[in-house]
Amino acid sequence: MDQFLSQYFDFSFMFDRFDKVLDGFGHTMLLWAVAGALSLGWGLILALLRQLPGRAALPARLLAIAYIDAFRGIPLLLVIVLIAGGFGALSAGAAPPGPLPESIAVPHWFGQPSPFWYGAMAITITYGAYMAEVYRAGIEAVPEGQMEAARSLGMGHGQAMRHVIVPQAVRKVIPPLLNDMIALMKDTSIVAFISFNEVVLTGFDIQSKTFNSSALTLGALLFLIVTIPMARVVDWLIAREQARTRRGGRPTPTLQPLPTAGSGAGP
């Protein structure tokens, strides 16, 4: 027991290494923000491709479905390792040289190292597929009459999607999207595998130098500080939505009660 406590819950050790672990967690947060934003956008694009109407768009629909099926079914770790290794081997700077220019195959954009961008790509590829399904659920939950009404007003499919369907659909799926964002944050730790210096790799590094695992525990605590409030926000959003849509619930603000006809008017 003492061994366990000194290995994982050495609080003075955590205090000493706090700066280092926090620095790693900063990298985690940055990767989360970038990969999360990219995934949210890419997922919506995939969902819209899947909803394109007409026979001409059949190949696009099939491609979107195949993509979503494939990348929901491959572990993120494998996608990350394959992207990092594959892109590297395609680089003109590799031995023997590959076809891709080094600035693309080994990206150092915005001062971030290549493992950061491989990680962001892999997470976007995988989470885009998850989120596309969430968006699809939202789009399909918008009553069909909305689309019909929009089309009968003369809007094209794209316009109707943009101005009528997607705003309603996204609103419905904000809680599950936030849940995916929480999962995505935790999954950024897998990028440690391709040497991105985030919080888990920082913890491993400290562990292998000091034989003390408390830095990993500290990393776990830092995650909780961010993820627990996010989970509460999700709960609150769901509760609010339920209250709004429940029969007899508070009506939406646009439905003001009509002025009573009793007092002023009358014959």
Binding site: G85, S195, F204
Partner: protein, 268 residues
């Protein structure tokens, strides 16, 4: 010509038969004893596989220098070796937690590590090697600047060396092979890892070792800090294996037929 061939073949057969006979009569060791083993009669060995040429191969047929040497030591002790594949990053914590009796994983003896585990006598002299792409502008450790990227395996002495002797950005990988791959792909400028592993990698990637960095480092087999009985038994068996030439044989097999350093040669 034909006769020479037959003679050669016969000679090879004879040698094989002699070798087999030589390996057979080792049933005189201590056996059992009180070595505080996890499973009586079995030596459970933790190793981060693959790390060629020290540990490699598919379970349960592991091969490599560490594997064959440790198997020979276990045989001297009348124990059945049981290999457990684990990650080097957690190997000491796992040893302390009692997941295996001993570690055989190309482990450099360091003062820091010695505080937590008990090392056997050294069984291998290890130097670090600087590995780069063939034709790289980096030809020595002095060519590495703060704008260089050096790929290392997380938690190894290669990483320590890079941190102490360069101000390069480090890429820390979970295995040795991904670190070499990063150099081959141009994602890192150089790799700092143990010499034998590095020279092995140059056979598989278009890389070259441009500098050997003597470190005075030696490998040992770590056991739990309190298990002096096992460490003593392993030290005894290691001496026997060196004395009877088994060590030399295994060394030559895995290191391009080179002679082992004097300390590991059978005393004549």
């Amino acid at each position: 010509m034909g006769r020479t061939r037959i003679l050669l073949a016969f000679g090879a057969l004879l040698a094989a038969a002699l070798l087999a006979a030589g390996c057979g009569d080792n049933d005189n060791g201590g056996g059992g004893g009180n070595l505080n083993l996890i499973t009586e009669g079995t030596l459970t060995i933790g190793s981060d596989i693959p790390y060629p040429p020290f540990e490699q191969g598919k379970p349960p047929d592991y091969k490599g220098f560490d594997v064959e040497l440790m198997d020979a030591i276990a045989e001297k002790l009348n124990l059945d070796p049981k290999w457990v594949d684990t990650s080097f990053g957690t190997i000491f914590a796992d040893l302390q937690a009692g997941k295996f009796d001993i570690v055989a994983s190309a482990t450099t003896i360091t003062p820091g590590r010695s505080k937590r585990v008990l090392f056997s006598d050294p069984y291998f002299d290890s130097d670090q090697a600087l590995t780069v792409q063939e034709g790289s502008s980096i030809q020595s450790i002095d060519d590495i600047t703060s704008s260089s990227t050096v790929a290392v395996q997380e938690g190894t002495t290669g990483q320590e060396y890079a941190e102490q002797h360069t101000d390069a950005t480090l890429q820390k990988y979970p295995g040795g092979v991904p670190a070499f791959q990063a150099v081959a792909n141009g994602q890192a400028d150089a790799s700092l890892q143990d010499l034998p592993v590095s020279s092995d990698a140059t056979n598989k990637f278009p890389l070259e070792v441009v500098e050997t960095l003597p470190t005075g480092e030696q490998y040992g087999f770590p056991t739990q800090k309190t298990n002096t009985a096992l460490a003593d038994a392993v030290n005894g068996a290691l001496k026997d294996v060196i004395a009877d030439g088994t060590y030399e044989e295994i060394y030559k097999k895995w290191f391009n037929d080179e002679e082992p350093p004097d300390a590991y040669q059978p005393s004549s």
